[in-house]
């Protein structure tokens, strides 16, 4: 945790609320997956909540984000209703995408959440394009593009960062380096000095931050956003963290030693904030309880909700040439 003497307790409390809501959501999603209530794959961001909260606290409602398969936290931090998200995971009516997208395709355009993605690194060009659009529209909104440490080995990383540089676009690239790409340790498949060097070699201002320190993230991003709004062009943030759970809710992750995971749980970013706030007299248990109640309600609602009407499988495809629905 950043130097404790100057901590803005109300701001940190707001972060804690966001992180608690994300944690509660992820835990509930994990359980629902294990219970067979969520049929599609679910990727949990437990342990990475500090990044989502630290980044999105610096964005306005107009600003936009893209995220990945592991994007629940980013959605919640950007303002998406967890109730609608849970409905989406359950594939029910009222979900963010009417139950048609699921966890990997949550989107919520009204809060600037331009979509998760089932394809690693595919959000990068889309985010860059959203920022290109902002520039053409003369808007001063900024775009944040979240991706994992596995994504930096796909071509769109190079193409997208180069593009943002040459068009001087307001995109903040946030690489959540959680050590793994599925069952593979990213170190083993990533050459060179690292993500920061890659970004700099593409002309993007880059820095590393402790992704488990929400205030450090917050502070770094505040500066990034300020520079971007002033026309400074793209920024890159390497946020180091750890994937405390398996790749999906059904992955027990036997490929890593238990003591490694245990040691990382000791660095749980949410617990760290809780300690600081407790020291400052904040009732964190109440925040946790509130978050849990909200998410419990979301699960109950999702579980009770109806599935989308069959004709929904045929709508919102395209204006002309869509298949006709005939019960």
């Amino acid at each position: 945790m950043t130097d404790r003497r100057n901590i803005d307790i109300p701001r940190l409390t707001a972060h804690y609320r966001t992180m608690a809501r994300i944690r509660a959501f992820e835990e509930a999603a994990e359980q629902a997956s294990k219970d067979g209530l969520v049929t599609g794959a679910v990727h949990l961001s437990i342990g990475q909540e500090g990044i989502a909260s630290g980044v999105c606290a610096n964005l306005t409602a107009d600003d936009q984000i893209t995220t990945t398969h592991r994007g629940h936290g980013h959605c919640i931090a950007k303002g998406t209703d967890p109730g609608a998200m849970m409905l989406e995971l359950f594939g029910r009516e009222g979900g963010t995408c009417g139950g048609k997208g699921g966890s990997m395709h949550i989107a919520d355009f009204k809060v600037g959440m331009l979509g998760a993605n089932g394809v690693v690194a595919a959000g990068i060009p889309i985010a860059v394009g959203a920022a290109h659009g902002a520039k053409l529209q003369g808007s001063n909104r900024v775009v944040v593009c979240f991706f994992g440490d596995g994504a930096i080995n796909r071509g769109p990383f190079l193409e997208g960062l180069n593009w943002a540089t040459i068009f001087r676009l307001p995109v903040l690239f946030v690489c959540e380096s959680n050590g793994f790409a599925s069952t593979t340790r990213t170190d083993a498949v990533t050459g060179g000095p690292g993500p920061v060097a890659r970004a700099e070699a593409l002309g993007v201002r880059a820095q590393e931050v402790d992704g488990n320190d929400v205030l450090a993230v917050d502070e770094a991003v505040a500066a990034c956003v300020e520079r971007m709004r002033a026309g400074g062009g793209p920024e890159f943030l390497l946020a180091r963290t750890y994937r405390l759970k398996g790749h999906t809710a059904s992955d027990p992750a036997p490929y890593r030693p238990a003591d490694e995971v245990e040691a990382r749980w000791a660095e749980d970013p949410k617990a760290a904030v809780a300690r600081t706030l407790a020291d400052a007299g904040v009732d964190v248990a109440a925040i946790d309880a509130e978050a849990k109640a909200e998410i419990d309600g979301a699960v109950a609602t999702a579980n009770a909700a109806g599935f989308p009407a069959p004709e929904r499988a045929y709508d919102d495809i395209q204006d002309i040439g869509a298949p006709a629905w005939a019960s």
Binding site: D108, L114, P125, I126, G129, A130, G133, W163, I166, Q318
Partner: protein, 331 residues
């Protein structure tokens, strides 16, 4: 009416739409110098480099960035240079642009046009000659357009730009210099509607359904067949998805015979969809079995004589048309 080439017609269509709608812009390699074939000549001078954007050689990101820019309300026209290079951007087109509207439950649309010049042309060889329209017809979410004339390359491009869904717009490189009438001072809203075929020639004995450059081959074939007393109707589909089943079925019901002509590889080509649909729907009304003519399942060779061998010729097409009629008479 004025005479324009196919290439000029497209430039005029884009300019008109860019004047009409400030949200329209174009992006691709070399556009600032008019594009590799000159399709963008004069446009950067009028619209400036923000709206006629020069990009790096980054097809995946050209397509992906256009998708992002479309999602936030601009209307990009993407230039892929050769349809073959669009194979570097398939995830972006097929997994992202085509599916976003549906996956997101209708929250957003992806109004973009991706221009993908197709076809065999002057010994361009295996990586610069493909016609893969069948691929995009198979992908939900996409509209697929293949203009055959200058007038259509004007009216269809305008309609494609105004469409609110991703349109794969496939011009034929061999048609760039083709001259034809294009409305001079058009009603700014004069479009060629997407999804509507055009009867390029009327006839009574057999219907040739075709698109893109093969329309002209079919017209030559029709003239050859006429000399052999076979009357050929030629339908230019113009839009492959959605294709004008009504017009095709009406014609085939009348002639009783269907010949589909395509430059693409016949195996798995779009002609299979047309032929299968007609066989299913019209079944025993046909006076002869449906028939397809297309390219053999071979990569496109460089040497001009080999390349020409792969193209469907008017003679071969006429022969097939006459066969269909004579064969049916004999049956």
């Amino acid at each position: 009416m004025g005479q324009l080439t196919y290439i000029e017609a497209s430039a005029r269509a884009l300019a008109e739409e860019m004047r009409r709608d400030p949200k329209v812009w174009a992006l691709g390699e070399d556009l600032g110098r008019g594009g590799v074939f000159g399709q963008y000549k004069g446009l950067v001078e009028e619209f400036g480099p923000d709206r006629i954007a020069d990009t790096p050689i980054s097809e995946a990101t050209i397509m992906g960035a256009a998708t992002g820019a479309a999602l936030v309300g601009t209307r990009p026209v993407v230039e892929m240079r050769f349809s073959d290079f669009a194979l570097c951007a398939v995830d972006e087109l097929v997994n992202q642009a085509a599916k976003a509207r549906f996956m997101f439950g209708g929250q957003a649309r992806v109004p973009l046009v991706v221009r993908q010049p197709i076809g065999m042309w002057r010994s361009s060889a295996a990586q610069h000659s493909q016609s893969l329209e069948a691929w995009y017809v198979h992908i939900p979410g996409l509209v697929v357009v293949c203009p055959a004339t200058p007038a259509d390359n004007h009216g269809l491009l305008k309609a494609a730009i105004r469409a609110d869904d991703p349109v794969v717009y496939m011009e034929h490189k061999g048609l760039w210099p083709l001259t034809g009438e294009v409305p001079d001072d058009p009603d700014p809203d004069h479009l060629v509607p997407l999804g509507k075929a055009r009867v390029a020639r009327e006839g009574g004995d057999v219907t040739i359904v075709t698109w893109s450059r093969s329309v002209h081959t079919a017209l030559e074939a029709a003239a050859l067949a006429e000399a052999r007393d076979v009357s050929v109707e030629v339908i230019d589909l113009r839009t492959l998805w959605p294709w004008d089943q009504e017009a095709v079925f009406e014609s085939v019901k009348r002639t009783g015979r269907l010949l589909v002509a395509q430059e693409a590889v016949q195996v798995g080509g779009f002609g299979a969809e047309v032929a299968a649909s007609a066989a299913e729907a019209l079944g025993r009304d046909l006076k002869a079995p449906v028939r397809r003519v297309g390219s053999p399942r071979a990569p496109i060779a460089y040497a001009r004589p080999l390349e020409q061998l792969l193209e469907i010729s008017p003679e071969r097409l006429a022969e097939a048309a006459v066969d269909l009629v004579r064969g049916a008479v004999a049956a």
